[in-house]
Symmetry: C2
């Protein structure tokens, strides 16, 4: 194997996810992941700090993206509409591009409570980033926090359906989830 | 010190919280907590598995209580109204009874990300319990999940204000938070 490995991070991620599903996250070693991807352990550690990071890589880019897209929503958009806009953009530009990865990842998280905990914390940082952007759009701190966190409720529902089903697109599921969330508050 | 120590768990909890705030959670030992409470380490371990459990003790009782109160809400109540009812009952019967403890606990969690993670997971079990009760009241799985999780958003806002302020009662803050959450979905 040469020193230059095209798309090593991508192949490592696929290998890792497959092994986490086949053998369990705890039982899988970095050596096994590297071997499955056809690279050295050293290559693994050039791209990921540890085997957990394979699952959480790339979320810092998403935090910024969500803040930017919340800020970029139409000036007429209400806070919850701005959040919906940002999540739809993220669905299209991040998740739908990596549907297979996202679905496998979801299975691994569901089977490993400590990873699910870490995921919850990650969603909290997404909500905080959108809340910050909403405050800059003029929302009060409370409305900003509530709209961002309510948005995460819709995202979790939509994402769960997408991960469990075989819809190609996440965006329509996200729209549907936001519509359902609105009905919860109709009275 | 005698073999019978009145309210040892209560005294241990107060001692632990005070030490976690004074010295930090990580830096505090069980020996120090026991000494501050005037009991032996053995007494500590009769009541708590470890120093983390001091902070999370009692939450299983609350899970059942929330499910029961969700079920007991007026038959006319919508899912989100049933959730609000259950949380108001919990505020009155659990949190307001232990205001000083709840406030100190909140400071400790805010200063310790791993404890805050655990708290998030705990809130998820509360939401799941209420969602289960809502399904039994006839709500769809999605509406049940959304109403319960939206309720947790209101609870977190209300609880944060209560913990940071000096209001005696949590219930009015909870009502206010639910009203604000409704305005997020007015359009």
């Amino acid at each position: 194997m040469g020193r230059w490995e095209p798309n090593a991070p991508g192949r490592l991620a696929v290998a890792a996810l497959d092994l986490y599903i086949e053998r369990g996250f705890e039982q899988t070693t970095v050596a096994e992941i590297a071997a499955r991807a056809g690279v050295t352990e050293r290559t693994f550690f050039r791209h990921f700090a540890d085997k957990r990071e394979v699952l959480f890589d790339g979320s810092s880019g998403l935090v910024e993206f969500l803040a930017d897209e919340t800020a970029a929503a139409s000036p007429d958009a209400s806070p919850i509409e701005a959040v919906q806009h940002a999540l739809e953009e993220a669905a299209e530009r991040f998740f739908e591009q990596r549907a297979d990865f996202a679905r496998k990842r979801q299975r691994v998280l569901a089977a490993n409570p400590p990873l699910a905990e870490r995921e919850l914390m990650k969603l909290t940082t997404f909500a905080a980033a959108m809340a910050g952007a909403l405050r800059e759009r003029g929302a009060t701190a409370t409305v900003a926090e509530m709209a961002a966190e309510a948005g995460m409720v819709a995202l979790r529902v939509a994402f769960g359906r997408w991960a469990d089903g075989d819809d190609e697109n996440l965006v329509p599921l996200l729209r549907e989830a936001f519509a359902e969330l609105r009905t919860v508050f109709d009275s």
